[in-house]
């Protein structure tokens, strides 16, 4: 890979209790690109994604070995500020999860917890983030309405805006379109395409067409192992591994 890597994993293993969910995963995520993780259900792609912002810490009895680095710094060294890590590595979830607050408050939440107090600054960040998430025009007249009144697709873009508002370097997306209809999905996919200019996006998807449409790099996972990883074009057109080919051509999945 020619671009410099922002995230690297080296021989990462993960256990839930006794069950091994990730096995010797080593990969590099190039900067300012969209990387897709694909694979059948339960293959560990979401688990891997949640390693990158250490959200697996919330679950009891999780054990991780191996090395994950962000900007060449190991994120598991003792003394790592998890809070700071999560500011740098934002996340959009499978199901839109806006807080039960107003649209404005949802976006302003991140900057606020990071200490932004000035009203004008907040206004600017909120507008910028909503514009960036292609939601501004739809909500600019009702910023004080509850975010729960938005449609599913709008809620998901609001969650993206919420993530953008803390200016992360990497955005993790965990099947961001699985709860959305095709039109809302198309909007999010366009948005992802725009985002890669400023951010590194890692997207988990079970929709192979989506992976082919939005990503430049793809990793195929199966039973906790990273089977193959490379340029999306290569993975989809000339897969090196037979497993990958079987999955992509729909022989299992």
């Amino acid at each position: 890979m020619s671009e410099s890597a922002i995230i690297t994993t080296n021989n990462v293993n993960l256990w839930y209790n006794e069950k091994r969910a990730l096995e010797a995963v080593s990969m590099k995520i190039p900067k300012n690109t969209v990387t897709a993780l694909i694979g059948p259900s339960g293959c560990g792609k979401s688990t891997l994604l949640r390693c990158f912002n250490r959200l697996n810490d919330l679950i009891d009895h999780v054990k991780i070995t191996g090395e994950i680095t962000l900007d060449n710094k190991n994120i598991h060294t003792p003394g790592t500020d998890v809070v700071l890590l999560r500011k740098k590595v934002g996340m959009v979830f499978q199901k839109p999860n806006p807080f039960p607050k107003s649209i404005y408050e949802n976006v302003a939440y991140g900057p606020r917890v990071h200490g932004v107090k000035d009203k004008a600054d907040l206004d600017r960040i909120v507008e910028q983030s909503l514009r960036h998430a292609a939601l501004w025009d739809e909500v600019k007249d009702r910023l004080n309405d509850s975010a729960l009144g938005l449609s599913g697709g709008q809620q998901q873009r609001l969650c993206i805006a919420r993530t953008l508002a803390v200016e992360p370097e990497v955005i993790l997306m965990d099947e961001p379109c699985s709860a959305l209809d095709p039109i809302a999905t198309a909007k999010i996919e366009n948005l992802i395409d725009l985002l890669k200019k400023d951010y590194t996006v890692i997207i988990v998807t079970h929709n192979m067409q989506q992976a082919a449409r939005v990503s430049e790099y793809t990793g195929f996972m199966y039973l906790g192992k990273l089977i193959e990883c490379g340029k999306t074009v290569q993975i989809f057109e000339h897969p090196r591994e037979e497993l990958t080919e079987n999955y992509i051509t729909g022989r299992f999945g």
Partner: protein
Amino acid sequence: MKKVKSVVSASEGTSRFSFLKERAIKTLFFCTASLAVVVVTFILLFLLRDGYPIFVDVGIIPFLFGDTWAPTAVPTLFGIFPLIVGTLLVTIGAIVFAVPLSIGCAIYVSELASPRVKSVLKPAIELLAGIPSVVYGFFGLIVLTNFIRVAFDVPTGETWLAASILLGIMALPTIISVSEDAISAVPPEFKEGSLAVGANRWQTISKVIVPAALSGIAAAIILGIGRAIGETMAVLMVAGNAAVIPDPVWNVLSPIRTLTATLGIEMGEVSVGSEHYSALFGIAVVLLIITLIINLSAVALLRYLKEGQYAHSERKPLIPASVQEPFKRVAKVILVAVLIVFLFVAAPGYLAAVILVVLCVLYFAKDRLSRKHIQKISFGIIGAAAFIVLAILIIILSYIIINGFPALSWEFLTQPPKDLGRAGGIYPAIIGTLYLVAGAILIAFPLGVGAAIYLVEYTREGRITRLIRNGVDLLNGTPSIVFGLFGFAFIVLYLTVGVSLLAGQITLALMILPTVIRTTEESLKNIPLSLREGSLALGATRWQTISKVVIPPAVPGIVTGAILCIGRAAGETAPIMFTAVVFSSRFLPTSEFQPVMALPYHLFILATNVPGASANQYATALVLLILVVGMYAIAIIVRYHFQKKSRG
């Protein structure tokens, strides 16, 4: 090919029979369910019937707002305004004491505690709920009032402050458990969303989780208020009971008298049918109305929340966002003002100043502190709240155990009392309590379970179920002393049963009925619909499905609920005080129509009316505590056992 004759065949005759049987069973359950409504109606009717004369003679306005309560003076004066004010002040004090502790403790249990700490704290909170109110009153009378008398250098510790602290402690478990449920019910996605933008744990808790649970916490507080307002025995024992409005009105060291305490004190000595008698029933009506309003609003709030869970996206916030900000600011100012006044009155001068300075420093340093430090301080405060709750339980239990244990002996448990309880034992009281409780549960259990089965299995939500549910809610919110008055007016006098075991059993049964219904309903609702559908799809009838598929897995839950009710009934004093008990008796009752001794009432009289019975007081309190807490412990163990089993 010849068709094989089916082994499973249904003939016309049997299906007709089973149809009639189904109808009969359904009707039976309907009758048990409507009983709750009937009881509520009867309570209202009989309170009004006996209270009506006072509203006519004195007039509603002078009765409610008259400033002197002197029922035995000449001429008599029946103004209950000081009592209403007393009730409100005591309740406000209790809430100021209980809310910060409870919410801190609830946050600690649901968000911070490790599984091990949690497994200690949760049963501890349930035990706190299990201690009978007369034991709280006893503890308050012996320990708390003395502490206040010495700490504030006042002639008597029986004050508003003592009553408020005691009621606050009693309201703790209610507020903690309901707010903990509300906090735990906040979807984990909110938490993940907040952490994912880099908020730390305290920011997530304070800005996302608690706000999302706010309506549930509000309902918890309202339920706590209901609990505090309806309490009789504990308040009566520590409040001093002077029917005056404190002067000045925030003087927490003044004695005070509540509506419930007035009933508890005067009902026993009033001549039936007099103006005073009717005034007491007038008080009961007022009390009932106040508690009904409070409990119904809590129930409505909780129900609104439950419905909100399903219509998530369309739900509007209870308070529109635009009003929320100024509203919050005003609320903050009021809260601070109340706290400052309370602080200066409640704490000796120098202590108040110290606390105030510390708070000010914290407030102004807030912006300078890093959020890591804020998190540390906040977690420290929350942990302290949980620790205080645990400490309160340990202090009460150990105080009674240490003082009661030496006086406990085989003779004490098996001998009748001598010299008004100063010597001898409490055998008749133990047996009396067991009789009362056994009778109450025998009456309430079948009725309650039947009602719950009807509500969950036989009807859809409609006008009738709503009526029945409201009946159950109203019954649940009715103060125990009101049950006592109703039992006296209806069972003892109107049905001419007399002060007797039977009257006490029925009164207690009515009191625990709503709890039996509630817990049974909960256990039935936990049985997945798919089980019922599976059974019905095989051609089983409703009743076959219920009796063979739905009830068996629900039994542990139902039994746990029943055990909790037994514990509660064993510790209650107010409902049996006028319906079933005598203070000292050498004999056991030989029929249902004789009065009995009972442990809680015995303790109450020993603690308040018999000087020089101190050793026996502690021992009686200990026996009562063991009996009641033992029941709760059994219930907790049963539940834990079955939970483990169902998890495999």
